[in-house]
Structure formats: structure tokens, C-alpha cells
């Protein structure tokens, strides 16, 4: 007898509705799964065997053919277990689907040997694409409920055992679905550290504000212990809250990567990712035979903090170039090409040399000239070219640290105001474009949105003469000037905006 059950397959971030067809016929007993199923799907046979038997059903001594269609796409993951088991029970007539529920309900779940249903990865993206195809009802593992709840309007049946599923099938009308409202139930408020913890350093705080306001990449250069990491960790806190769409998109990525937990069913706050410098290129940008999003995609809509920038392998760092430009990363694998979103804000920190004291007015640097050049040379010019905001930090005298003056420190809330202004201006300006932030402006767009008046033009000319800047720097300065103007809610770029933007140019001294 033939039966079929709806589920979905995950291909990168894209999902496709997938039917599990089961046909039971007379013949030598065997259980075959076809349709480009990989190891984890084919192993389902053993799990299903035990689960079915342990739930009081019978595993038929017949020839069972399972086909996953469309059969030309590679299937991966353990969430097919439930649909296959149901198909088996239906085709052997052990349960009956009187209301043809399997035609419009998708089933997900990994079976344990005793018939329990466990958490699966990628529920959110699959639910979103099924909804687009008109499917409104899902049977999901109870532990995935909080994640699936984000897809507004979905009818959800959280289940924790195979028995519960068969009960629902037999008496659908009696089962009450959970209707997803798009809001997570778990309190996920993380405490993001505040900028007011940092004493002084107002120029750096301002630079961080400007960088955040336009999602510009930022590089901090300074000796050890001046608070580079402290600043990096706080930048996410001055970005405006994520929109629902952004939350959904980020959660999708985390769902695929299997990074969602019961305590973190949804990404509601801007991600902060700080991979160690030993990270490989494929962990950073994504990869693996089954393409997994890398750190840059996990930092999508948030901050990617790379501490000790020159310690990263040069090849690894260079893979950042394309994602920084495009806001997406394409991972090419045998199975095809996967595109993951990766619109992150890069915040990098480095010492000026290996010992960290090059340029320090008091403490001597113990590095030789060639040591220093080798050290900073690990960060390639093309990567530096993509960093719009550069700042140099210096050691703070002890008196300043211990001095608890009456002056209140600038807090994250103070900084967020300017950032929110800029986000508003950018949203309005780029509403019909693919661009979201000033940092993404192309040279053509710069001509349009960063027009300069005569005085500003003259100022730019002077600046270029003074510092012998290159044409590439020209665009960077204008992008940053645009952002600074946006934090002021200024329609046009003024001279003071350009002058400030110029102060964030690369300090050549450290790289020559």
C-alpha cells in the first residue's frame, strides 16, 4: 500500500517541501531509503524499527520502499525520522489518516529508540518556506516550539513521542494547536555591558558611535590593556534593536547552525561573535560538506569582533573581503553553492607590534623594524582598504583610572541616540534600494548621496594634498562623512563632517 507524508528539506538557507513516499509490498523483507539520502537519513531505518516496535506497533516483515521526493536534492538531517515512521504506519494500515491530514501538515522530528521525539535543527527556515508555499500546520518536537512560534500564524502541534502523533492523526479535531504569534516566551534579555564602564576615551567612544551608525568596519590599534576588547564588546549595545525581519533572518541562520537552545530559541538581540584567532577559513565564512554558516553569518546584523587581528592566518582574513563588500557569502561545495547572509559590522583590534609598545611615548618597544613590519604585514592592504574607521588608543595614566571625578561618563544610551538618528536617515534614504547602510555605498551611489558643495570639495582637495591620500581613500572618507552627517540628522555633508571623517583615516605610520 502506498502513503505519503509532508516534511521539508534544508539546502543551505533555502528549504524545499519534501514528500516522504512509503510503499509496502510483498517480497523479501527489507527497508530501503532512496532519494539522495545521506548517512544520517539512511540510519533512520534502525531508529524507526525500534521506535515503532517500542510504541506498540508492528514493523512489517515486508519489502518497504521509502522515497524522498524531489529525489534530485541531497537530503541531510535527522528530522525525516517522524515522517518516514508515519508513512510506514499509514502504508501498513496500522493507523488511518481519515481526515487526510498528512496532505496539508508537515511533520518533523528525530526519533529515539523508545519512540520519543527529539529536537531538530533548522525548524525556523523550514517553517518559513513552508508557510510561503501555503502550508499552515506543523507537527514539531516540543523542544522546537519556541523557535517555530516565531512564524506568525502557523498552527503548531508540539509533540514529544510517536504515540502523541498517532493520537493527533486519529482525532485531529480534538487536538488543539498552538497558534504562533511571532513572540518568544523565554526571557532572553542578556546584559550587554555599557560604555559608561569605560573611563574617558571619548574620542574612541565617538568613533565607535560613528562606526555603528553606518555599520562601518572599525579597527582599533593600541598597546595591550587599553580597553580595545572592552570597547569591542560594547559596540553591539549601541546599535538599535533588531527589526522582526532581522530577528527572523538571524534566527534562521542560528537554526541551521544548530546554535539555538531552549534558553535561546530566538535571536532577538544583535549577535556578538568573537572567534579566537586560531579559527579556520571555513569556520569563519562557512563551509563543510553540508554547508554550515560560519562566524560571519552568525554575526549577521550584529558585530564580528576579531581581537589580535594579525594573529589570524592571513589567508583566513582575506576570505573576509568578499563578504564585507557584498553582505553575503557564497560557499561553493560539491553539492552546489550556498549563499548565507553576512551583513555584519567588523570590529577588529590589534597591537601596533608584537610587544605592543611601538609608538608609546614612555615605554620602549622591543621589536625590530623587520619584526614589526612582518607583524602588521599579516593584515593585507585590501582588507585594510575595507575598514572605514581607524582609531589609535593610548595608555591611560593611572590617575585618570583611579580618579573618580564628578564627570559622568558617556553611556551606551547617550551614544545610541546618534546611531538611531543615522539608522533612521539611512532607512529613509535607501528605502527603495538594496543598500541598507552607508558603508555599503558604491562609488556611483557615493556620487549621488554624498554630493559636496564647493567648500567641501576644496577641503577634500586640500586634505588629499596634505596627506597624499589615494583615490580609494576618497570614497571611504565620503562614506564616513555621510554617516557623521546622518548622526546629526543633516541632509547635506558639511565641512565639519568631512574633517571628522578625515580623522578616522588609517594611521599610515603603523603600517609603513
Amino acid at each position: 500500500m502506498y502513503s505519503r507524508v509532508l516534511t521539508a528539506g534544508l539546502y543551505g538557507l533555502d528549504c524545499e517541501a519534501t514528500w516522504v513516499e512509503v510503499d509496502t509490498s510483498n517480497g523479501l523483507p527489507r527497508f530501503a531509503i532512496v532519494g539522495l539520502a545521506n548517512q544520517s537519513v539512511r540510519e533512520a531505518s534502525e531508529r524507526i524499527h525500534s521506535a515503532v516496535v517500542n510504541c506498540g506497533f508492528e514493523f512489517p516483515p515486508k519489502r518497504v520502499a521509502v522515497n524522498l521526493t524531489p529525489a534530485n536534492l541531497k537530503k541531510d538531517g535527522s528530522h525525516y525520522d517522524l515522517a518516514i515512521a508515519l508513512g510506514l504506519l499509514l502504508s501498513t494500515g496500522q493507523i488511518e489518516d481519515m481526515e487526510r491530514i498528512t496532505e496539508y501538515t508537515a511533520f518533523f522530528g528525530e526519533l529515539t529508540l523508545d519512540g520519543k521525539i527529539g529536537r531538530v535543527e533548522g525548524i525556523l527556515p523550514m517553517a518559513i518556506s513552508l508557510q510561503k508555499e501555503g502550508i499552515k500546520q506543523l507537527v514539531i518536537p516540543a523542544s522546537n516550539l519556541e523557535e517555530a512560534r516565531l512564524v506568525k500564524g502557523m498552527n503548531l502541534f508540539p509533540v514529544s513521542s510517536l504515540k502523541e502523533v498517532t493520537d493527533i492523526l486519529e482525532k485531529m479535531s480534538a487536538a488543539v494547536p498552538v497558534i504562533a504569534d511571532g513572540k518568544p516566551r523565554v526571557d532572553m534579555a542578556r546584559s550587554v555591558p555599557d560604555f559608561s564602564d569605560i573611563r574617558g576615551q571619548e574620542s574612541i567612544k565617538r568613533a565607535a558611535q560613528v562606526a555603528a551608525a553606518g555599520m562601518h568596519a572599525m579597527l582599533m590599534i593600541g598597546p595591550p590593556g587599553v580597553g580595545k576588547s572592552m570597547i569591542g564588546k560594547r559596540i553591539g549595545g549601541i546599535l538599535p534593536p533588531m527589526s522582526y525581519e532581522e530577528q527572523l533572518e538571524a534566527t534562521k541562520i542560528y537554526s541551521i547552525a544548530g546554535e539555538l537552545k531552549d534558553s535561546l530559541p530566538m535571536i532577538v538581540e544583535r549577535p556578538f561573535r568573537a572567534p579566537h584567532h586560531g579559527i579556520s577559513a571555513s569556520s569563519l565564512i562557512g563551509g563543510g560538506t553540508k554547508p554550515r554558516p560560519g562566524e560571519i553569518s552568525l554575526a549577521h546584523c550584529g558585530v564580528l569582533f576579531l581581537d589580535e587581528l594579525p594573529e589570524f592566518a592571513p589567508g583566513t582574513l582575506d576570505t573576509l573581503r568578499q563578504p564585507l563588500e557584498d553582505g553575503t557569502v557564497s560557499v561553493m561545495r560539491v553539492n552546489g553553492k550556498c549563499v548565507f547572509p553576512s551583513r555584519f559590522m567588523l570590529v577588529a583590534a590589534m597591537n601596533p607590534c608584537r610587544c605592543g609598545y611601538y609608538g608609546d611615548p614612555v615605554r620602549p618597544c622591543s621589536c625590530s623594524e623587520s619584526d614589526r613590519k612582518r607583524y602588521v604585514g599579516r593584515v593585507s592592504g585590501p582588507l585594510l582598504d575595507r575598514i572605514d574607521i581607524n582609531v589609535v588608543l593610548e595608555r591611560i595614566p593611572y590617575e585618570d583610572l583611579s580618579n573618580s571625578s564628578a564627570k559622568t561618563e558617556i553611556s551606551s544610551a547617550d551614544l545610541r541616540k546618534g546611531v538611531e538618528n543615522a539608522f533612521g536617515m539611512q532607512k529613509e534614504r535607501y528605502k527603495n534600494l538594496k543598500t541598507d547602510y552607508n558603508s555599503q555605498l558604491t562609488p556611483l551611489q557615493i556620487r549621488k548621496y554624498c554630493a559636496l558643495d564647493g567648500n567641501c570639495e576644496a577641503l577634500m582637495r586640500e586634505a588629499f594634498r596634505t596627506w597624499s591620500l589615494s583615490a580609494r581613500v576618497y570614497h571611504r572618507i565620503l562614506r564616513v562623512a555621510r554617516t557623521i552627517a546622518d548622526t546629526d540628522c543633516a541632509e547635506n555633508i558639511r565641512e565639519e563632517h568631512i574633517l571628522e571623517a578625515l580623522s578616522y583615516r588609517l594611521p599610515e605610520k603603523y603600517f609603513e
Binding site: Q201, A458, T466, L502
Partner: protein, 364 residues
């Protein structure tokens, strides 16, 4: 008699025929001053001409003197007042002493703009009107660098090198004097109208001919002696062997000014003049980065401070008293936001007032 009236006589003397200024200076030395010349009896004047045929050869000058017609001079003064120019006569305190010391100072100069600039000697930068791209670039850079030291750039606002020297100077926010062959209220050549307006606005225009006077070709080489006289040194950027620039160079040497020349491409006719000057002993400009040392000009701190806004002055003084201070320290002391301080420091760096080493700021 008040000063107002005195100027009439100087203007009258200046406009008495086209005779050279050294003749008129000689007359003034004979009769005391311009008023003395005017009041001298016809016989005294005739005797003077007869007694000094070498110094006073021109009979048409004598005839003009004898007419004693003050009306054109009165008209010139009115015209000067009408266009806002100041007529400064040889005995005025405003008359630059370094101009008075030459052999043929103009009895009167008309100045339109910031007359304070006449107090100090500047650097002359002149050259051909048919300038090469290289020459134009060098002229602009030199003008800029001199201005960065707070020293006035003096030139003739002709097309080519002169115009670029003024432009470079103005772009650095420096002081510049343009010496005209026409009246100060006339922009010549017309193509420099924008530059002319900027010079009147931020610098000074000077001429020995009356406002409204279009001038003749021979007035242009004559004004070169004023350019070199107002300058401590003169830089010739480009010029053919027989050109106005070479006249300026030779007048500068007569006036005991240093002459510098920019070496040029030997295939270029307009470089031959400057290269010949170097061959004859003018100082060559070999490097632009040490131009102030080459021209022996220090940083004119007073002029620089004058150019600064109050905010810049405050920052300048902080950095001067504690070299190597940081932007944060400056914003703390000036009670300005980090953003404003960053913009201010960038602007000062562009103007060449300060430099930064990483986050440490120094006086340049």
C-alpha cells in the same frame, strides 16, 4: 596743511608724464617733497633740469610739471575713494619701508584689501603666462608651502604661474599680495575674475597706477619692480630668457633681493630662462619638502596665530605647552565634544599647524 591735501601732490607728481619714478624721486630730493616740487617756481624747475641733465633728461616731464594741473590728481583720489582703495604716498607711515628703499619707488601706491600685509616683507613667486602643467603645479605648491609658514606670497596675478602661486597660497589660508599693472579696481586678465575677488576678499591688491586706469603694456614690466621690492626673496618658476620674469629677476638683484629659480626641463623654451638664472648664480629650488629652509623663512608664529580662530588658538596653545597630548586631553581641556575636537584637529593638520603621530599631537 593736512595729510589729505599732501597726497594730492604725490598723485600729481606720479601722474606728471610717463617719466620714470627715479626722476621724480630725484626731484623730491631737490625740493623736499612732492609739495615742494609743486610749489617750486618755474625758474627753479628749469634750473634744476638744466643743472642735472643726467638725472633729468626728459623735457616733457618739465613741461608737465610747469602746467601744475592738480585736477587729474583730484579725480584719481576721488576714484580711489569710490572703489575703496587707499592711496598711500611715499611719506605715509603705511608706505612699506622696503619699497621706499629702492632706487625708483612709486610716489604713491593704491592698495585695495588688507593693508596690514604691507608691513612685512613676503616672498615673490612669478613666472610665465604660458606655464607648463609642471610649472603650474610647482607654483601652487610653493605658494601653499610659503603660506603654511605664515609668510605673504607676492605675485602679479597674471595668467599661468602668478595665478597658481596666489591660488596655492589662498588655499592654505595664507596672505597674498597681487601687484597690478592696471588700476586695482580692474581685473586683468578677465579669466582670473574668481581669483581677483578672492584676493580682494582675503589678501591685498596693489598698483602704482590710478584706479580705473587700464594701463599700457609697459606698465606690466614696471610693476615687477614693486613685486620684488615688497619681497625678501623672489622665486622664478618658469620663464623664457627674455620675459617679464627675467625682468623681475634682474630688478630683484638690483634691489639686493635673493633670487631663486626652479630648475626645468631643458626641452622647454620656458625653462631656459630659469635654468640660465641658475647657471648665473641664482639659488635653485631642489626640494619642496625643505622649501622653508631653502628660502630661509622661519615659521611666522605671529602671522599663524592671527590666522587661527579662537578655538584653534586655544588648541594650538595646549599642544604647544604639552607636546604629544592626545585628542581626549584636548577635548577635556577645551570642554568640547570628541567629534568637534576631531574635526578641529583635522582642519589644523590640513592647514599645516600641527601634526599627529598616531594619537599624539605635536606643533608642526
Amino acid at each position: 596743511m593736512n595729510n589729505m591735501d599732501k597726497r594730492i601732490f604725490y598723485i600729481w607728481l606720479a601722474e606728471c608724464s610717463e617719466a620714470q619714478s627715479d626722476r621724480k624721486l630725484f626731484l623730491m630730493s631737490l625740493f623736499g617733497d612732492a609739495e615742494g616740487v609743486y610749489n617750486a617756481s618755474p625758474s627753479d624747475l628749469r634750473d634744476a633740469f638744466a643743472a642735472h641733465p643726467q638725472e633729468l633728461p626728459e623735457q616733457f616731464l618739465l613741461e608737465a610739471l610747469l602746467r601744475k594741473d592738480l585736477r587729474p590728481a583730484e579725480r584719481s583720489l576721488r576714484q580711489a575713494e569710490a572703489c575703496g582703495a587707499e592711496a598711500i604716498c611715499l611719506e605715509d607711515s603705511l608706505y612699506p619701508p622696503h619699497l621706499a628703499e629702492i632706487s625708483d619707488p612709486p610716489p604713491v601706491i593704491y592698495a585695495l584689501g588688507n593693508t596690514d600685509l604691507l608691513k612685512e616683507q613676503g616672498i615673490g613667486v612669478v613666472g610665465t603666462r604660458r606655464a607648463s602643467p609642471y610649472g603650474r603645479w610647482v607654483a601652487e605648491e610653493i605658494g601653499h608651502k610659503i603660506a603654511e609658514c605664515g609668510v605673504t606670497v607676492i605675485s602679479g596675478m597674471a595668467a599661468g604661474i602668478d595665478a597658481m602661486a596666489h591660488t596655492g597660497c589662498l588655499r592654505a589660508g595664507g596672505d597674498t599680495i597681487a601687484v597690478f599693472g592696471t588700476g586695482v579696481d580692474i581685473c586683468f586678465p578677465k579669466s582670473n575674475l574668481k581669483l581677483y575677488r578672492e584676493i580682494l576678499d582675503k589678501g591685498l591688491a596693489v598698483s602704482e597706477v590710478r584706479p580705473g586706469y587700464g594701463g599700457f603694456a609697459f606698465h606690466f614690466p614696471l610693476r615687477n619692480r614693486i613685486i620684488s621690492a615688497l619681497s625678501k626673496s623672489v622665486v622664478i618658476v618658469e620663464g623664457a630668457p627674455k620675459s617679464g620674469s627675467m625682468i623681475t629677476a634682474s630688478r630683484a638683484m638690483e634691489q639686493n633681493r635673493d633670487v631663486f629659480a626652479v630648475p626645468g626641463n631643458i626641452n622647454q623654451p620656458n625653462s631656459l630662462g630659469t635654468n640660465m638664472l641658475i647657471a648665473d648664480g641664482a639659488y635653485p629650488i631642489l626640494r619642496l619638502d625643505i622649501l622653508p629652509e631653502t628660502l630661509r623663512i622661519g615659521r611666522n608664529a605671529k602671522a599663524l596665530l592671527r590666522k587661527m580662530s579662537d578655538a584653534e588658538k586655544a588648541v594650538y596653545e595646549i599642544i604647544e605647552s604639552s607636546p604629544g597630548c592626545s585628542a581626549d586631553e584636548i577635548s577635556l581641556l577645551t570642554e568640547r565634544s570628541a567629534a568637534e575636537t576631531a574635526a578641529l584637529l583635522s582642519a589644523m593638520e590640513i592647514k599645516g599647524l600641527i601634526r599627529s603621530e598616531g594619537s599624539f599631537k605635536f606643533i608642526k
